[in-house]
Symmetry: C2
Subunit: 267 residues, 2 copies
Amino acid sequence: MAAAGHPISSVGIGVPGLFDYATGEIIFFTNLPGPWEGFPLRTRIAESLGTSTTLINDARAFTLAEATLGAGRGCRTLACLTLGTGVGGGLIIDRKLHFGAYGVAGEIGHQTLDPEGPLCGCGNPGCMEALTRPPVIARQAGKETFEEVLVGFDRGEPSCIDALDNAMRHLAVGLANIITIIGPERIVIGGGVAEAGERLLQPLRAEVRRRVTLVPPEAISIVAAELGPYAGAVGAALSSQGSVVGDAEFLHGEIPSATRRRGVPAP
Amino acid sequence: MAAAGHPISSVGIGVPGLFDYATGEIIFFTNLPGPWEGFPLRTRIAESLGTSTTLINDARAFTLAEATLGAGRGCRTLACLTLGTGVGGGLIIDRKLHFGAYGVAGEIGHQTLDPEGPLCGCGNPGCMEALTRPPVIARQAGKETFEEVLVGFDRGEPSCIDALDNAMRHLAVGLANIITIIGPERIVIGGGVAEAGERLLQPLRAEVRRRVTLVPPEAISIVAAELGPYAGAVGAALSSQGSVVGDAEFLHGEIPSATRRRGVPAP
């Protein structure tokens, strides 16, 4: 295998869901059809290509890329969010991608914003994802796609304005929570909302600043991602190198084994 | 000044609110009366006692103490919550007390759980604190104090059961959010709810496990604090030593200057 004449030294795959770090098997994908549970993705790819292969959640890959080469460069503490089919997230804390004790930390999109809200693909009612993902916004606005909602928004169609206002209000609460809990130097937003640019980011910032009372409003920084639709692929490649790139370190030693089979005792 | 015949080498003060790290002046106290804004607490104490004096948020002091000597010993990533007059919080990440870019990270109690909910002392509607602090639970139950609510709960009084159920449901959503976002190895709870023991912790744990879909339920650990009502004082003393104690490091270098006067530019 070769790319532009260079041999491939390693493969990194951004995975849209959860997997077992120890075995490289899929646990579940929130928004992809199929029976994926237990699929040995890492082994299959590694054996097919004959290269060392790393899996990383796609939103954590996006985070690693934006922190290293994109809009989060130089930040010591950073939160990233990407609104696509789902709402993925990731955290850089003290210049390292944060995985937490279960390996799934950074799932900003799966905080509960409305305990009685619509069921999320993850099984929990009222997740930020269930309230703000672009396909939901499109459905609420009576459109086929998020892009059509933006066209309607620019034309002043009330259904599109309402659906976007509603989603941005929920998103603002979730980002205000992240600021209050984590205190990131910056928040980087990717996906559809970021592509819509300042017409969404500006009211979003205003609403977040209205919500956060413990941090000076002028210190709150919310910016669009810089690396475009391939940020996840860039981050997956970076993760496969296991190297320190720029300011953001990706340390394999930080990744805990999945705890699902360990049976850690309560309480 | 001397304590038990030993000279006092330093003073640490747990402060129930926000202060400016650079000047040692109070920014605001959420739940204490008085005009405190701008009060030069650190200078006044340091000059009066003639000792080096450190300020630390009281809930972050509680967190440092429980992480170092209490129920969070040995945890690499830990979340602590204490329910008293207010609802304070703190995070240990990678064995360090986490302050974030604004110096106020760890304010778990000021995440918004109900955007249209009751106004919190911090000025934001629907904070976890406004929905779960013991004085609010007492008022909802028609009692004078939280202790009376527990007595009524044990007697089977419906108003006390309802008020506690309601608060525990909100608390569970907030803790589920912390698990999903931060992935702490353990959550330590102090204050009234912890003193009530397993009669509250057990249903709380069950509700958190029902809410969290991305982490195996058996891996979720929620335990009562161990150091009692003086945990905050212990943590403040630890912070004044600026030393590494046990597994939890308290690094003064980690504390950023308050950003409120810095005027960090948008976006």
